[in-house]
């Protein structure tokens, strides 16, 4: 089986700086593909068994999501970035592992819809509630403020940075979506829901949400570094930071 995820394409028009996030995702994906898929017959058989065993047990990834702790940002931007990158690598490894199991269950479940409310659907529910004036823009920013369009592109602003009119456009486009009533991942698992495809599909979104939050924190810290570089007269404006590679930025740390 070939790799069906194509993580190399997951950032649209990546800036030079964001390329390192793409590299993290691709590296994590390759690692899992090597682990579970092989061209050689005997090895392929053994790996198939280990894939099946891996796919049966969703608990390790689910526990990881439940116990995930966000890194508390300090005033030291360089150190924050180092820790956040490690966290991001960890989350992308889980996403790749989760994807492997998801592809396994797809073979048994080609046309059944997911039984779990995904993070995307929850986010749209918030936008609909904002559009219907059940929640304010401030509430929206508190709940899904780290969301961004093309979220792994560091130069893209997060929803908490959007203007009121931009949020309105987002909400207007989504408002007519009829989201079916479904349990959240936690509710589904607590009720002993059995559909593994739904579970792995929902867990992927939860993990991507964690990666999105880490990316939002990375953005904050890169913008802090940009201010330092402006003071040192290395760049003129904050957005110039996205024109450097991650390695180039590391060299400015002195």
């Amino acid at each position: 089986m070939s790799n069906p995820f194509e993580s190399s394409e997951f950032i649209a028009d990546p800036s030079k700086l964001s390329l390192f996030i793409k590299d993290i995702a691709v590296k994590a994906e390759k690692k899992q593909v090597v682990k579970f898929y092989s061209q050689r017959f005997l090895k392929r058989k053994i790996k198939k068994i280990s894939l099946s065993m891996q796919a049966q047990n969703y608990i390790p990834i689910y526990s990881y999501i439940l116990n995930f702790k966000k890194h508390k940002l300090t005033n030291k931007a360089w150190e924050n970035i180092e820790t956040l990158v490690l966290k991001l690598e960890e989350v992308f490894e889980k996403i790749s592992l989760n994807n492997i199991s998801l592809s396994y269950w797809l073979n048994f479940n080609k046309n059944k819809p997911s039984e779990i409310l995904t993070k995307d659907e929850q986010r749209i529910n918030f936008l609909i509630n904002f559009h219907k004036r059940r929640i304010s823009a401030q509430d929206l920013k508190k709940t899904i403020g780290t969301f961004a369009l093309n979220p792994f592109e560091l130069s893209n602003p997060r929803l908490k940075e959007y203007s009121q009119s931009q949020i309105k456009i987002l909400a207007q486009n989504a408002v007519d979506l009829k989201i079916p009533a479904k349990p959240t991942l936690r509710e589904y698992i607590n009720k002993h829901g059995k559909d593994r495809f739904s579970i792995y599909s929902a867990m992927r979104e939860e993990l991507k949400w964690l990666a999105m939050e880490i990316t939002a924190d990375l953005r904050i810290n890169f913008l802090k570094i940009a201010k330092i570089l402006i003071r040192r007269k290395i760049i003129e404006k904050q957005s110039d930071i996205f024109k450097f590679s991650f390695d180039e930025i590391k060299k400015f740390n002195k």
Binding site: L106, Y162, N173, A174
Partner: protein, 112 residues
């Protein structure tokens, strides 16, 4: 202009016809206002397009697989997803298309 497609997810087999738009980057959604349903042409199945679902008739993508998160959601909301060759740079950003399911063909025209 005509080109063939491969179905990733499909729900109707009836030929359909309507306006299309090309979106190459999900950030474009922030400036995107449409009244009627449209066919979305995109290089990749970016998950952010879920925000446009109420307006999307079908998605025509150059890259992506049945396991892409957007494809999974499309299946749930009964939005067809078709895989096409990369013609996005050769065609206007807006126009009208017809999907001929029987012959697996997409035909682009300028008339509405």
């Amino acid at each position: 202009m005509k080109f063939i497609f491969e179905e990733l997810i499909s729900f109707g087999k009836k030929n359909c016809h309507g306006e299309y738009r090309i979106l190459t980057n999900p950030s474009q959604i922030l400036n995107f206002k449409v009244k009627n349903k449209f066919f979305l042409l995109t290089p990749f199945l970016f998950p952010d397009y879920v925000l446009l679902f109420p307006k999307i008739e079908a998605i025509l993508t150059v890259e992506g697989s049945i396991l892409s998160h957007l494809a999974i959601l499309c299946r749930e909301y009964k939005i067809p997803v078709l895989k096409i060759k990369n013609v996005l740079r050769e065609i206007p950003e807006e126009g009208v298309l017809t999907i001929d399911y029987k012959n697996k063909l997409i035909k682009l025209t300028n008339e509405k």
